[in-house]
Symmetry: C2
Subunit: 162 residues, 2 copies
DNA sequence: CAATTCGTTAAATCTGGACTGAACGAAGTG
DNA sequence: CACTTCGTTCAGTCCAGATTTAACGAATTG
């Protein structure tokens, strides 16, 4: 019955991911790999979560692009193996940061295109752009510091020690 | 043709809202009210955006719950009037903060329920909870400071000055 | 008190995007 | 060189949730 608490955690991670606007399966994968502690093959993940390999392939590459998971190509096997690096959250933060930066640039471009009338609209729009820009910076800085902390005191389980 | 840049801003705000996992119309409303600078009735908003009053009603109340918009019940008219308060972003931050706090509590409860085995799983799960908790706190602090800054130097257009 | 207008709710519809199944190319393996 | 296995892609399905239409209660006005 020890699998039950694991499953509940994986389930919760999926729900949270969904609430944050990312695919449910992406969250489940992070939970699964975090609990595993070591790298797992795409097939393992798919059967472990009871979803199609196609879904895992898609989502695990999305996680890779975000820096939340890394691919390990072992020499012996031609299977790819995947692990989350501590903390897996860091990637989430930089994804957020990137998103906000895009928002900032998009809005700022619109502000520039606005007539500089006395109604203050252009300043209002500029204010929005400014907000997104500082949000992006804040998140970026934090993701860096979070990574540093985690690297300092690493409480992550590894099957094979140093 | 000056309405065109306004529309593009409103459009962009809707797209961003959608990208952040909230209803498109909610973002459009924020954009509309921010440009308006003063309070607008529900009917105004609906016709201004070309959407149903039901949608506006639903979304504007969601914004109110988040603190991104406030309702003004004028004595003379029985219409409700709505405005965004500067900065409207602050509500978005506290919404995020709340969400992360819920995540933290949910995960922490699971961590407590986990067997304290030597595999370090419980610590891993606890780490996730910790992450969400500090994220929540960071966002909360920032939303407060953002509000303070905006209140200090208020560049918001008001039709009726002090 | 009838008539109008406002805001909300409930049911129905519509749509974006997650997920799957099947097919394909690449890379080993015998 | 046939055969198996792996990962990806593509077309199709499915579903959550956003939006709308219609109907309702409350408030206002004459």
């Amino acid at each position: 019955m020890t699998a039950s608490t694991d499953d509940r955690f994986i389930e919760a991670m999926g729900a949270i991911a969904q609430a944050e606007g990312t695919p449910r399966i992406a969250g489940q994968i992070v939970g699964y790999l975090a609990l595993a502690g070591e790298a797992r093959s795409l097939t393992d993940i798919a059967s472990g979560l009871g979803v199609s390999k196609a879904s895992v392939s898609t989502n695990v590459r999305m996680l890779e692009a975000r820096g939340q998971a890394i691919r390990e190509s072992r020499t012996g096997s031609r299977e790819d193996h995947w692990r989350v690096l501590p903390p897996p959250h860091e990637g989430m933060l930089s994804a957020m940061s990137d998103r906000f930066l895009r928002h900032a640039e998009r809005i700022e471009a619109l502000a520039q295109a606005m007539p500089p009338g006395a109604d203050g609209k252009r300043e209002t729009v500029h204010g929005f752009a400014q907000f997104y820009r500082s949000a992006s910076e804040l998140l970026h800085d934090w993701s860096v510091s979070a990574r540093r902390e985690a690297t300092a005191a690493d409480p992550v389980p590894q099957t094979s020690g140093t």
